[in-house]
């Protein structure tokens, strides 16, 4: 299995180094064409903000990783910033393992990041489009996507919000049944506040309201959010608490802008309907005593960060499960790959024996009477077939049923060495 992986990622290189190696779709296309010409029979390139990685299959094991690294650096003209030391390289099982780890999200900067699987999928598709894929990489792609799918369905590594704004949305979903019937109010215009509001919109919040000291900003944001929304005068924002279900405060203010008395009053007016307040302001915008009021759920940056930390720990705890899936899929993949080599080996062995038979028959055919010659041909063919029958059956059987891929590889190697039939030719990849 001559699969190589050579690449640069967040493990080995800082952002300013990684961004130098980032490849656009067009650049990727060009790079793949050249890589195929120079080094690989099949290849693909994954390029995201966290990694640029090359996966390639060679017919000849003797490929110089260093040369490929230099080629990639030169391709991006990044000689000054990117060094070969920023790259990591692995081979055969190591390369497949690495690809599976990447696709399952356990190699990501934020563990369990699901975006990466789509990016890997797109990379495969691009390679297919420009025809630098072959049967081995195709199969590898299927298995990789399968690893990703199994990871998502069989583990919880992708679950739980890992950013403060998502954590807030997740909480909203634990309090309210149907966000499309709820409304949210954003007070202030901090970046995280806006992001949280956008997440709520993407989760289908029914109505949005925005209050800002500068009315123009509020209007712009409402227009930008693209849902049923309106602007609330900043001075009237406490009154607005009567009619909304979720409040995000993100105001730069030295004192609390919402006090327990305000909320007590509001809760009576809203017949105690649950009120979820997300205080993203630093210093805090809402008096923490508000938390004690019945049916009011108040969260600040600290408590949201605590959720994020907890979720990250939970994701980490899922890694062993993912590793097990990867191992299972690797066994499956290599099993397939071994069986791929059995066919050509049997073919080559038959060829070799047939050649010997033909040579010997030709050499000695004159010693037989003309009427017996046809029989000689028949008998020798039968002998060769009988000799081949048992080893061929065993070899096929081993590859089809045995999960121990190393055993099959060993047999193939031994057979080729003993009979002197050399390495499989290109034909294997067309099987």
């Amino acid at each position: 299995m001559n699969i190589h992986s050579i690449g640069i990622s967040h493990h080995t290189a800082a952002l300013d180094v990684r961004e130098k190696m980032w490849l656009s779709v067009d650049e990727t296309r060009e790079a793949l064409r050249q890589l195929k010409q120079r080094y690989f029979t099949e290849c693909m390139l994954v390029s995201t903000c966290n990694r640029t990685e090359l996966y390639g299959l060679t017919l000849d094991v003797q490929i110089d990783d260093e040369e490929v690294k230099r080629f990639l650096i030169e391709l991006k003209n990044a000689g000054g910033v990117v060094q070969p030391e920023h790259f990591t390289a692995s081979f055969a099982g190591g390369a497949v393992n690495h690809l599976f780890k990447v696709a399952s999200g356990i190699d990501s900067m934020v563990i369990g990041d699901i975006q990466i699987l789509n990016q890997v999928k797109e990379a495969f598709q691009l390679s297919r489009e420009i025809e630098v894929m072959g049967p081995v990489m195709n199969r590898l792609m299927q298995t990789t996507l399968h690893v990703g799918k199994r990871t998502r369905t069989e583990t919880t590594i992708c679950e739980g919000a890992v950013s403060v704004s998502y954590a807030a949305v997740e909480l909203a979903n634990k309090i309210f049944e149907d966000l499309s019937r709820k409304s949210a109010l954003l007070i202030g215009a901090g970046e995280t506040g806006e992001l949280t509001m956008k997440h709520l919109v993407s989760k289908g919040i029914g109505r949005v309201r925005v209050a800002n000291r500068t009315r123009g900003k509020a209007e712009a944001l409402v227009a930008n959010l693209g849902v049923d929304g309106s602007v609330v005068e900043y001075e009237h924002m406490v009154d607005a608490l009567r009619t909304v279900d979720i409040v995000i405060t993100s105001v730069n203010s030295p004192s609390y802008i919402v006090q327990p008395d305000d909320v007590h009053k509001v809760m009576k007016q809203r017949s105690n309907n649950p009120l979820f307040i997300i205080d993203i302001g630093v210093p805090r915008n809402v008096n923490p005593a508000v938390k004690k009021i019945d049916n009011v759920f108040l969260y600040d940056m600290d408590s949201l960060s605590a959720i994020v930390d907890k979720n990250l720990d939970r994701r980490k705890a899922e890694i062993p499960k993912v590793t097990r899936i990867i191992r299972e899929e690797m066994v499956e993949f290599f099993h397939w790959h071994n069986s791929l080599q059995v066919g050509p080996t049997i073919h080559d062995l038959r060829d070799a024996l047939e050649t010997i038979r033909q040579q010997e028959v030709e050499k000695n055919i004159n010693r037989f009477n003309p009427e017996d010659r046809e029989l000689v041909e028949l008998v020798t063919k039968r002998i060769v077939n009988k000799i081949l029958h048992q080893p061929v059956t065993n070899l096929k059987h081993g590859a089809e049923n045995g999960s121990r891929g190393s055993e099959t590889i060993f047999r193939i190697k031994a057979l080729r060495e003993l009979f002197g039939i050399g390495e499989p030719k290109k034909r294997e990849h067309e099987n």
């Binding site: 309210f176 017949s271 049916n295 408590s303």
Partner: protein, 276 residues
């Protein structure tokens, strides 16, 4: 086939089934063990069938439906709770509350199995049609009240967990607060009206059926007290805008009294409502 022998086997076997169910649902909820996830619902369906079979066999073997003693009623209640839960699970596709609800069914069934007696002789008074109506409405009412209490309990646990920012299993596995409150409230409302009918029918039927009938009977006072409690709770929700925690606490307290009424009053303060 010996009917009585079959019933005697099932008396022991049904609680064992429920214990198995509670263990499976528990393993699924607390440990997310795939095997438990896979088998809990099939086992639930099998158990419900066995339980219904048990009730039918009992009726045949002792020549009366099991409605004449509190322990007979308790097995009906357990069956009714698990049938109700099966319906909820099939409809909402959410099986994460099963552990808590079936735990309740297990408690009722175990108490029933421990004390139930094989009565063949029953008072002729208990063969009235009005009694059947009284018992079935009371049963539906208590089932709904039990479910309401479990959802109320889950609401309070989740409420507490969200309020105190401790995001454990309860937080991860349970549905949202609004849904739990809605389920609890709907069940409570249904339970309340069923109970109202049961009480009304009882009050019409009692003076005719019993000579020693008294309005100061502990069971009657207890039940009326429970009814008033729920009436106050439901009115407070409607008129005073009580929401969330407070209404859930009322639902739980109400259930506490129901349980007391079924056990302590029926067993120790014997009045006309005990028949054995």
């Amino acid at each position: 086939m010996d009917l009585v022998a079959a019933v005697e086997f099932l008396v022991v076997f049904i609680p064992v089934l429920y214990a198995g169910l509670v263990i499976l649902y528990g393993l699924s909820f607390f440990r997310s063990i795939p095997l438990a996830d896979r088998w809990k619902s099939p086992l639930l369906h099998v158990s419900v069938l066995f339980h219904i079979g048990y009730i039918l066999l009992r009726t045949a073997a002792f020549d009366h439906p099991p409605v004449t003693t509190v322990f007979e009623i308790m097995t009906l209640l357990a069956a009714s709770i698990s049938v109700g839960y099966t319906y909820i699970e099939l409809r909402t596709k959410a099986s994460n509350t099963g552990f808590f609800i079936l735990l309740l069914a297990l408690v009722f069934q175990t108490v029933s199995s421990l004390f139930i007696k094989d009565l063949t002789e029953i008072a002729p008074i208990l063969r009235s049609r009005l009694l059947g109506f009284h018992v079935s409405t009371a049963l539906l009412g208590y089932t709904a009240i039990s479910l309401s209490a479990v959802y109320g309990f889950l609401y309070l646990m989740l409420y507490h967990e969200i309020k105190s920012s401790r995001f454990g299993l309860i937080y991860t596995r349970l549905p949202n607060l609004e849904m739990l409150e809605k389920m609890s409230h709907k069940a409570e409302l249904f339970g309340f009206w069923m109970l109202t009918i049961a009480i009304a029918v009882g009050l019409i039927w009692l003076p005719r059926a019993f000579e020693n009938f008294s309005y100061w009977d502990p069971k009657l006072i207890g039940t009326l007290f429970i009814w008033v409690l729920y009436a106050v709770g439901l009115t407070a929700k409607r008129k005073l805008g009580w929401q969330g925690r407070k209404t859930m606490i009322i639902s739980l307290v109400g259930f506490g009294f129901v349980f007391l009424s079924m056990t302590v009053i029926n067993m120790y303060l014997s009045g006309f409502h005990t028949f054995y």
